[in-house]
């Protein structure tokens, strides 16, 4: 997992290794599973509408399957440029 911006700040780490159980099939499932594990994850993921994701560095919707991805990123809507 990699986190950016205020998601990273609320969780308190920029990256972490996780091993979710088999029933965690989508990125949304993964977010639910992480939020149940710690208050800081729960705080970071409280407002699901303000979260975006990337799977192996490519933007995907939250309902995208994990599909054996090596790297999942969770972050707020982007504000560059």
């Amino acid at each position: 997992m990699v986190y950016f911006a205020w998601v990273r700040e609320r969780i308190g780490v920029a990256e972490e290794e996780v091993s979710p159980p088999a029933e965690v099939a989508t990125i949304a499932d993964l977010i639910d599973w992480l939020a149940a594990r710690s208050p800081s994850h729960a705080a970071a993921f409280a407002d699901r509408d303000r979260l975006r994701a990337a799977r192996d560095q490519v933007f995907v919707p939250l309902d995208a399957p994990l599909a054996g991805a090596g790297e999942i990123a969770i972050f707020p809507p982007v504000t560059g440029g």
């Binding site: 911006a5 560095q57 990123a73 972050f75 809507p77 504000t79 560059g80 440029g81």
Partner: protein
């Protein structure tokens, strides 16, 4: 030719312009975004997603080159801390005719705002705050999808 760079170094406009003008075009359109000195912001910090950022910018530049038959496309984005008046981003499109250069330039900056993983954090007297996305940016990016 496609030039994409993400760096914490200040953006050298003269060098970027020279490269864009060296393309076999004749028409060069550019956009430069600067840190605005408003709202009591003393510093702006750009965070990004290394690897994914470059990939997103390259895809954007390639799409512009294909769509408007550009001679060249440049996207240079600064990351890290910067002060009011400094350049955040520079995009350029080189083409044979000006309409292609102007439209591609607008496309590059509009889509960069929504498609590339950058996040702005403002340092103010009370601490810092993350910049919220603007609905106008989504609308501007959407007009290029068709």
């Amino acid at each position: 030719m496609i030039r994409v760079r993400v760096s914490s170094a200040p953006i050298d406009i003269a060098a970027e312009m020279e490269a864009a003008e060296a393309e076999e075009g004749g028409a060069v359109a550019t956009f430069t975004g600067l840190v605005r000195p408003d709202d009591g912001v003393s510093e702006l910090t750009l965070e990004h997603y290394p690897g994914a950022t470059e990939r997103a910018l390259e895809a954007l530049a390639r799409e512009a080159v294909a769509r408007w038959s550009l001679a060249g496309a440049t996207i240079v984005h600064r990351v890290g801390p910067m002060r009011p008046g400094e350049r955040i981003v520079f995009v350029a499109a080189s083409a044979v005719h000006r309409a292609a250069a102007l439209q591609a330039c607008a496309f590059l900056i509009d889509r960069l705002k929504t498609d590339a993983p950058f996040w702005k954090r403002e340092t103010v007297e009370a601490g810092h705050r993350w910049v919220e996305p603007r609905a106008a940016d989504d609308a501007a990016a959407d007009r290029w999808r068709s």
